[in-house]
């Protein structure tokens, strides 16, 4: 029986609603982000990058926290599936990290006149990439599956906590960042114009959900690959 691809199976919708939500929110963010009237700021139209660049940071952070949690769970249960989630979460986090640095460079080039400036926030993002690229190399240099999962989990937990100190605590203390989002908590920009908030918050939720979606697909791919290999 031919199935209409537009008819959504009820149980599938129950399981996958957040994927549709992510698509809708991001569509809204992209359309809204380019259409809405923006407040008059010094940086002009580039303020629209807010919906994309900041989303990359939110996505990276959420993914790395997910990786951290699943590494903890791996050490608790020694279930290989937990390790697969941990490593794929880090992979997606790295992707967000690179995109965040890329979108940030475009923005920085306009507002500060150079693609890279010496700033605690930028350094924190770069150090995060170094840490997790090293994590991938560490995993690559261990052949035994269980040993790789265990050593990887230990490094992930150890490195994540030190990275948190570097990105969340140190910049507050040194207080010399020119990057926005300093006076408030790093998560919620309090001084955001109300007009922008209508697009900003849905966009952030959309990006985070998109991260989980990509992670979900990659985890399933890896599990199938594992099954084929065995």
């Amino acid at each position: 029986m031919a199935r209409n691809i537009f008819s959504i199976n009820q149980s599938m919708f129950k399981r996958d609603w957040w994927k549709y939500l992510s698509g809708v929110l991001l569509l809204y963010a992209i359309l809204g982000g380019f259409i809405i009237k923006i407040p008059d700021t010094m940086i002009g139209e580039t303020i629209r990058n807010l919906f994309f660049h900041v989303g990359m940071w939110f996505g990276m952070f959420t993914m790395l926290i997910t990786g951290f949690i699943f590494s903890l769970r791996y050490l608790h249960k020694f279930d290989e599936n937990e390790d697969i989630v941990a490593v794929e979460a880090v992979n997606v986090g790295l992707m967000f990290g690179f995109l965040g640095i890329f979108t940030g460079m475009i923005w920085a080039n306009f507002t500060w006149g150079a693609p890279w400036v010496k700033d605690p926030k930028l350094n924190g993002a770069a150090v995060g990439l170094f840490i997790y690229l090293a994590y991938m190399i560490l995993r690559g240099s261990i052949d035994d599956v269980h040993k790789r999962a265990k050593v990887g989990a230990v490094y992930n937990i150890f490195a994540f906590i030190l990275w948190i100190v570097f990105v969340l605590i140190l910049p507050k203390l040194s207080g010399e960042s020119i990057h926005p989002g300093k006076e408030s908590t790093p998560i919620l920009p309090v001084h955001l114009d109300p007009a922008l908030r209508f697009v900003f918050y849905p966009a952030m939720v959309g990006w985070i959900l998109l991260g989980f979606w990509i992670m979900n697909i990659r985890v399933r791919m890896r599990k199938i690959k594992l099954k084929i290999d065995n």
Binding site: F130, A134, I137, I142, V151, F158, I161, L162, W163, L170
Partner: protein, 219 residues
């Protein structure tokens, strides 16, 4: 129980080091020649800023070199033997304590050699020495843990460096901030927050090593 085990294991580390003197002598020579090379290279360019940066970078490289051997020299048969007689916590804490001794000596030596060659630019010596001690503790605990991780991976020479450099940064950045103050003023007041962070990092890392090492040593 744990205290006794640690005491014996630290004693073992020291005896082992004294038995193979070429290892510690190698690190000492590495330290001296690195400082001498930088002294020649930076002959006319030593300001308090460069003095500070060079000092901590050299100390970082010395620490990575000195500590990376911590677990590699233990072969798997000896691991198995430890496994039957001591707890993993005792192993990692004894390594951290031993490396702290090592780092304290090495950092004092590099400070002395720096002063000898490039002159003493430190104004607030008590603050600097305090930072040096906390820095030795932090470097020894972070690098001991990374050495344990790297020793589980096969044949990768650069692994120790790429794993440790990014995660040592919060410690190193804090240390450089404190010692920059020590190089410019007698006043301690600006550094309280950084000293608190330094202590927090040290406690957190030792705690993490205590909790995580047992997962590393079982195959």
């Amino acid at each position: 129980m744990l205290g006794k085990e640690i005491q014996i294991l630290v004693g073992k580390e020291i005896r082992l080091e004294l038995k193979q003197k070429y290892v510690i002598n190698g690190i000492l020579l590495y330290l001296l020649s690195t400082i001498f090379v930088t002294y020649l290279a930076f002959e006319n360019a030593i300001t308090p800023e460069t003095w500070n940066s060079l000092f901590w970078i050299i100390l970082l490289f010395v620490a990575v070199n000195g500590i990376s051997k911590s677990f590699i020299q233990e072969n798997s048969a000896r691991y198995l033997y430890y496994y039957t007689i001591v707890s993993p916590q005792a192993v990692v804490l004894s390594k951290i304590i031993y490396n702290l001794f090592l780092m304290a000596i090495l950092s004092m030596l590099s400070f002395g050699f720096f002063v000898l060659l490039m002159g003493n630019l430190v104004i607030n010596i008590p603050l600097f020495l305090f930072a040096l001690f906390l820095g030795s503790l932090g470097l020894s605990s972070i690098l001991t843990m990374v050495a344990a991780i790297a020793s589980r991976a096969s044949h990768n020479f650069s692994l120790m460096a790429i794993l440790s450099f990014p995660i040592v940064l919060p410690l190193l950045a804090t240390l450089m901030k404190i010692s920059r103050t020590a190089l410019s003023t007698m006043d301690w007041s600006g550094t309280n927050g950084f000293l608190a962070i330094l202590l927090t990092i040290n406690i957190a890392v030792v705690l993490l090593a205590y909790l995580l090492f047992p997962y590393l040593w079982k195959d």
